[in-house]
Amino acid sequence: MAKSESSSLIALTGVPNVGKTTIFNRLTGLNQKVGNYPGVTVDKVTGKMKSTKGIVDILDLPGTYNLFPRSEDERVVFRVLSGFEPDIDVSAVLTIADMSNPERSLFLVTQLIDMGHPTALVLNMEDQAQKEGLELNKILLQRLLGIPVITASADKGIGISEIKKAIEEGSFAEGRKVVNPADFCDESLLLKVSGLTKQNNAYQALQVLKFKDEEKKIPKNIRDRLGELVEEYKFDSAQVQRLETKMRYDHVRDILSKCLKSPEKKRAGLTRKLDNIFLHPVFGFAIFLAILFLVFQAIFSWAEGPMDFIDTSFAFLAHWFSEFLPSGALSDLLTEGIIPGIGGIVIFVPQIALLFAFLSILEGSGYMARAVFITDRLMRPFGLNGRSVVPLISGFACAIPGIMAARTISNRRDRLITIFVTPFMSCSARLPVYIVLVGLLFPESESTFFNAKGSAFFGLYLLGILAALVSAAGLKLIMKNERSGTLVLELPRYRIPQLRTVLTTMYEKSKTFIFEAGKIILAISVILWVLASYGPGDAMDRAASTVQVPQEKTEAAIQKYQAAVSAQRIQASYAGIVGKWVEPVIKPLGYDWKIGIALICSFAAREVFVSTVATIYSIGADSEDIQTLQELLSNETRDDTGTPTFTPATVWSLLVFYAFAMQCMSTIAIVKRETKGWKWPIIQTVYMTVLAYLSALVVYQLLS
């Protein structure tokens, strides 16, 4: 069993903050795949390691302190190792421990050994242990545990080849059992359980019996039978677990007393000093805000260059194709539907990559836990906790990675509330909308440090934050029956973040975004292109032919003619029909049917508003040129009254609408995926849209 063939699967385990991800990245490089475990939101991260004996699959299990399955992370580890996860057949377990702090890791190691898989232990951070003067007798530890022990300093790449070699040669062993379940539990009971759920050994059977109610994978009839056994044998789960925990602690203490020599001196001096600064009641918050400001700046300013480059490149690509392809429906689909659609996905990559680079640095340095620590108390009145800070801040770039980042929140209620309110944070997709609309309000841009435009932007961001916090507090009241969360958060030692880990995170998160959200965005862009390009029968051509062909063939006259034709065509298209159909609903907000078209189209993604109004107000191909767009919009008049369409009241109403409304198919898709159902995304979309409608209504009626 230990020496398995080509189809072997190695499960990587360990307590949090021991460098497990670093080792995983070193072993697999970029050959990683992120999937999902059925029924839970935990990422299933697998990678392939190339070896002389072929490819070995490596499964990076979430970091857990033990195998008692309480949180979703722990449940996944428990399931995989107990054989409840179909298609995952673990051939061996590689567990990582922090050599400079072995007390913390060994509890899990003893549980892993008792689960009965062939196991090997990596003592990581050997350099740190040496620096602190800690001596661990590796040979003795190996003998006491009965499994191979490898030392490594993964940050520096030391020991990686030894780990690879161990995996290649399959040097894993089943180890010396630590706890005999028969000591505190009737053996015949465990045999019966094994018979029912097909467990390999008594300890696995005991685990299953203890956590049968949490384990939905056990068929109901078997669960009922297990329940009867619990009654029959008067099985006291809590008591058994206390006994087991005590035995393990005694065992770990015994092992360490034999093979560990700790220095007399107190350790971790630098971390303590840094904590006195970073967790200072006053400076701590100041530093936290400064870091936030830096991240914020980066997402907006640093990403601008690459985003402009992507924008221009795709515009160039579309132009190039339209020149070289014979004109026709297919060419139009490619140059007006598909290429801009892909461009609309790729344009977010710089922001997502930058955000996750920062998050990875903050996580890798150990600062993230400190940020949670100092903000936890402040977030609690809103039904959030310190861990909500990261998703909410990420929401300023894009709600999607923010909602994905909410996975670190173990409490269900806190996590749902965080997911629910994150889309209120003013994401980068709102920015183009804000820029165009605020530009209409204040056309003369003053170059002073403090100007009207800047204040308007600030106000809109504040509005989003306010909506998020108030909604969170409201949800907390509604969901007060749910179990409230615990914090229990480790503050790891400060470390220098690993460039390799940062780069891998940037790459993996961008890839996930392009393939997960990108599919939906592309599909919707193509659908919307069809809606705007086609109408029932020959209605569009007939509408276009009503425009008077100019007598004089001057350039200005021809341009005017073409603009009128485009406007007529879109009015007759399917999109135009829908826009007119919703006009009565949006009229009280100060919108006409053309804005209606833009609202509908931008339901795919907010920034589509800009390109849609550009099309509707027919400024031709150069749709991304904001200056021309602004001039066009301010000259636009209503069909019925002839008064300007974009009055300040209408513009403010639109701004408030976009600040609150969901208007993002990708967010809906990600919320559906994260909450495992349509219930939450639907409630969320309805709530946000109603709030947006009512607020816009109030704003328009007050200002007009």
Binding site: Q241, R242, V488
Partner: protein, 78 residues
């Protein structure tokens, strides 16, 4: 020698854990290292005194005040 809960000790004070609350959170703390017989030190508290960071087994773990309440400790009062 008096028995108090861990949320009442002062910064840099080291105490020994004597008992844990029997509820699920209490048990979880036990599995995280807060086990009777071990020494813990209050390293520092966040603004407003909540959460609190304790050192146990050379690891610093932050707990909310009402979680720290579940840990009974004995002080060797001077």
């Amino acid at each position: 020698m008096t028995s108090v809960t861990a949320d009442t000790i002062s910064t840099n004070q080291t105490v020994e854990i004597v008992d844990l609350d029997g509820n699920e959170t209490g048990q979880r703390l036990g599995e995280m290292g807060f086990w009777p017989g071990k020494n813990i030190t209050l390293v520092l508290s966040a603004p407003f005194g909540d959460p609190m960071a304790f050192e146990v087994d050379n690891t610093v773990i932050a707990l909310r005040k009402n979680e720290a309440k579940l840990i009974k400790v004995k002080t060797t009062a001077a």
